[in-house]
């Protein structure tokens, strides 16, 4: 018997070796050799994917490495370190004799940028964004316009004065250069601001501005490029330029909105194909981006609009696992993209042809700072007249100082044709210098400055049902008071939009009875589910009284206080309902709550949400159902112990807390680029998830 097995194994091994040799034989070049080459090398076949993978691997290993050196990552922002790595790698390649690759613009705009923007747009905190929309738009549009024209004009004047090599730079080129370099870059802003954890208002101001100024940049860039190509500018052309801006901005948003609605509608029907749900989200968003780019509309705005529009509906429709998948994939891709972008920036610096001109470069850097500060201060003065919570001087400083430039500027400059712009190399050098300056100097110093100025940091707020209820309460209250005053503020319109949303849109786009669910209820359910999962993961099996979590002291005192008869009742009900049950009521270990292996097909968490809802309707002695719930009864009975006992808590009115859980487990937020568990977009995302209006 054993001998047979051994022989079979030998035969298999031999067969495998033969196959390998034959395969090797097939792929290698047929030469007139006498023997079989056992081992041959064919690098060309895999070169492209191999190199791409190698770069991505390098980027990820770098990220890993930085977090093993906490000293370094505390002082220097990650983006700086990555650029330095890029410089080193570029230098290495140069030393080896080959030409280092430059950041290809097509690769950048089509592959590296969209994941970052989609990640930003999908998890955009909607409520602060809409509350400050006016301010953000003012900074994005007017601020960028001011920067462009101020820089262009002063640079032109300087070039005129300087003479020499700079004399050939005409006004249009200066304006074009201004338009490329003025735009605040979302990638750089994200990379740096994520690490400093400033308060939500400032974060959304700078970040929102960096996203929305894409429309302005696109229009101005194409405008000036066209003008330079055509050679003549008329008043009509300028007017058309203004029209073009509106078309680009609004068109981009519309394209994104349409794709968002399509994605939401598609997600309504995916209940039987849960596995590919995340794919729809990604594909529709990417298509929105590409479609916008086809028409030279603002791809970034399309992507943001798509993410924002589809998110509330998609999340009501998809399963919990898909939601997690989307979250993690977006974070992963955007993280890798960002790393690659910065490394490539470093490499391109070593590679690109450089024309250094002291005057031009130094004036550019000074101008960037000056025009940004002037723009911010001037605009804030106007904006503060219309804001309820004014922007203080400290806020203005941070907004001005946070205007970082990044890879978008570089790629746009790289796309310029050398025929129309003979000074392209000089521009490139200047832009790279500006990027380095902003990322290194401003990026490194912003953290100590924030501490020095004692700018309000981000509040680490946990998911709180109190806040949700009271916030909604205040919204209603203020809407009513505004009605009394006869004042049609933005709350009025938001309420109208809300009502419209609830009545018509949610019916179409959300499947099943969840379209009728009030926001408060879905928030509460999500919160309960999340904390149940927290409980599982924190493995507090024997410690019902929240021994090792951060629960406040009095909660840890309240231990399990069920009387014996109650416990028997619970056991009886569980036995009746659960098919496979383990009689461990006091210890919530993983085994009690995890599904069985054959459960993979069923959407267990979806059932659990419904189950939990049903359970909380149930009272222990009598299975009384309310009419609204009857429709949603699911036949498969797998109530979880956790929720049945939550229901137990319902029963004990009065002053005897029967069961209390450690409900204040800290959620470990998933940071994108940094490993320190500062509350990042995820906590915001979870809050804003239920504050959409």
């Amino acid at each position: 018997m054993l001998k047979m097995r051994m022989r079979m194994k030998m035969l298999l091994l031999l067969g495998w070796c033969c196959g390998l040799v034959c395969a090797g034989q097939n792929r290698s070049d047929p030469r007139g050799q006498t023997g079989f080459p056992v081992l041959s090398i064919n690098y060309d076949y895999v070169q492209m994917p191999f190199e791409v993978s190698l770069w991505i691997l390098l980027a990820s290993l770098m990220k890993l490495g930085f977090h093993l050196l906490p000293v370094l990552s505390g002082v220097v922002p990650e983006s700086c370190l990555l650029i330095v790595v890029g410089l080193l790698v570029g230098g290495l390649i140069r030393v080896m004799g080959k030409n280092p690759p430059v950041l290809d613009s097509q690769l950048f705009f089509l592959c590296l940028l969209p994941p970052i923007i989609l990640d930003a747009g999908y998890f955009l905190p909607i409520r602060p964004f809409t509350e400050n929309a006016g301010t953000i738009l003012t900074f994005a549009v007017l601020g960028t316009l001011w920067n462009v024209f101020f820089m262009g004009a002063v640079l032109y004047g300087a070039c005129r004065l300087e003479a020499g090599r700079l004399a050939s730079v005409d006004l249009l080129s200066c304006l074009l250069f201004g338009s490329i370099v003025s735009a605040v870059d979302p990638v750089a802003v994200l990379a740096v601001f994520e690490e400093i954890h400033i308060n939500e208002l400032l974060h959304i101001l700078v970040f929102g501005e960096s996203l929305l100024n894409d429309a302005v940049t696109v229009v101005l860039y194409h405008l000036f490029e066209e003008f330079a190509h055509a050679g003549e500018v008329t008043v009509g052309d300028v007017f058309l330029g203004v029209v073009c801006f509106f078309v680009v901005a609004l068109g981009g948003v519309m394209v994104g909105g349409v794709y968002g609605v399509l994605a939401a509608f598609t997600s309504r029907f995916t209940s039987h194909t849960r596995v590919i749900e995340p794919l729809f989200v990604f594909l529709y968003s990417y298509m929105a981006y590409l479609s916008a780019e086809v028409f030279h509309l603002s791809g970034i705005m399309a992507l943001i609009a798509c993410g924002v529009v589809m998110r509330p509906y998609v999340e009501a429709n998809i399963s919990h696992k898909s939601y997690t998948t989307i979250k993690y994939f977006l974070k992963m891709w955007s993280s890798v993209s960002e790393t690659l972008i910065f490394i490539f920036l470093g490499v391109s610096t070593v590679a690109g042809p450089h024309t250094w001109n002291w005057t031009f470069v130094s004036i550019t850097i000074v101008l960037c700072l000056v025009s940004r500060v002037l723009g911010v201060v001037g605009l804030t003065y106007i904006i503060n007249k219309y804001r309820m919570v004014k922007l203080s001087g400290k806020d203005q400083f941070i907004v001005a100082y946070g205007g970082l430039r990044g890879a978008i500027a570089f790629s746009l400059a790289f796309l310029l044709s050398s025929d129309d712009f003979p000074m392209k190399d000089m521009f490139l050098t200047a832009i790279i210098t500006v990027i380095f300056f902003t990322v290194f100097v401003q990026g490194m110093t912003i953290r100590p400055l924030v501490d020095l100025l004692a700018v309000k940091k981000k509040k680490q707020s946990k998911c709180s049902i109190n806040e949700e209820i009271h916030t909604q309460f205040l919204e209603h209250l203020l809407a009513g008071i505004e009605g009394v005053c006869g004042h049609y503020g933005h709350r009025h319109w938001r309420h109208k939009l809300d009502r419209f949303n609830k009545r018509y849109i949610k019916r179409c786009l959300i499947r099943g009875e969840r379209s009728q669910e009030p926001q408060l209820i879905s928030f509460y359910n999500k919160m309960e589910l999340k904390q149940a999962l927290m409980l599982l993961e924190s493995n507090s099996s024997a410690n019902l009284s929240a021994g090792d979590t951060a629960a406040p002291q009095q909660r840890s005192r309240k231990t399990l206080n069920i009387s014996k008869e109650r416990e028997e009742e619970i056991r009886k009900i569980l036995r009746a309902n659960l098919q496979k049950t383990r009689q461990r009521l006091r210890s919530y270990s993983r085994h009690t709550l995890m599904p069985d292996a054959e459960d993979e097909d069923e959407d267990w968490s979806e059932t659990r949400i419904r189950k939990q809802r049903r359970m909380s309707f149930m009272t222990l002695p009598a299975l009384r159902e309310s009419p609204a719930v009857r429709g949603s009864r699911v036949e498969s009975d797998r109530p979880s112990v956790l929720f049945t006992l939550a229901d137990e808590r319902l029963e004990s009115r009065g002053h005897k807390p029967s069961v209390t859980f450690c409900l204040d487990v800290e959620e470990k937020p998933l940071p994108r680029c940094v490993s320190d568990p500062g509350a990042d977009q995820l906590l915001e995302e979870d809050e804003s998830l239920h504050q959409r209006h």
């Binding site: 049902i465 809407a479 008071i481 503020g489 909380s616 309310s626 609204a628 319902l650």
Partner: protein, 178 residues
């Protein structure tokens, strides 16, 4: 009108609006006048808001009372602190705003939001489709989160503490046009 802090033009504007609401032309507003406002009719908290305008036990509110209630919703201004150190806290301070909101929950004025009061508010906000038990569990959870002294109700200080991270100054302010 110093205690309300409205400027002269704001008061004039509010008075003309008050006048337009006052269909009975008797210089005071009754409950029916308020109920005629369309926004309040569809607002879940409409009745409570109306009640907030009327002082204890009265059925009419004059212009002074009207303004006094609305003064709570003025935006908070930093330079106001320096103006009048003797007049006590202005009506639109954060604490007074929160007190106003608290009183809307706390109908029986016992300075505590009990479970039943919370349930009533939740029921108004959520509508009729949700069962009592589920609302009850939400109310229990809410009280448990906020309650620090264990009396199963939310006092004003607990209420303030829970909302300390919420930007009340912005959420409870209306821009009264000049």
């Amino acid at each position: 009108m110093k205690e309300t802090g409205f400027s002269h033009s704001q008061i004039t504007r509010l008075y003309s609006h008050f006048h337009s609401l006052d269909k009975g032309e008797n210089g005071a507003l009754s409950r029916e006048d308020f109920q005629r406002i369309p926004e309040l009719a569809i607002n879940p908290l409409g009745d409570r808001i109306i009640n907030a305008f009327f002082p204890e036990g009265e059925d009419q509110v004059n212009f002074r009372g009207f303004m006094r209630t609305l003064a709570h919703f003025r935006p908070v201004e930093d330079n106001e602190k320096n103006k009048d150190p003797t007049s006590g806290e202005p009506l639109n301070s954060r604490a007074n705003k929160l007190l106003f909101a608290f009183r809307l929950y706390d109908l029986d004025r016992d300075d505590k939001i009990s479970r039943d009061e919370l349930l009533q508010v939740l029921r108004m906000m959520v509508g009729v489709n949700i069962s009592d038990e589920q609302l009850g569990s939400i109310a229990d959870r809410t009280i448990q989160e906020a309650d620090t002294n264990g009396d199963m109700s939310i006092s004003f200080s607990e209420f303030t503490k829970v909302l300390e991270k919420v930007d009340v100054e912005q959420k409870m302010s209306i821009r009264f046009l000049h």
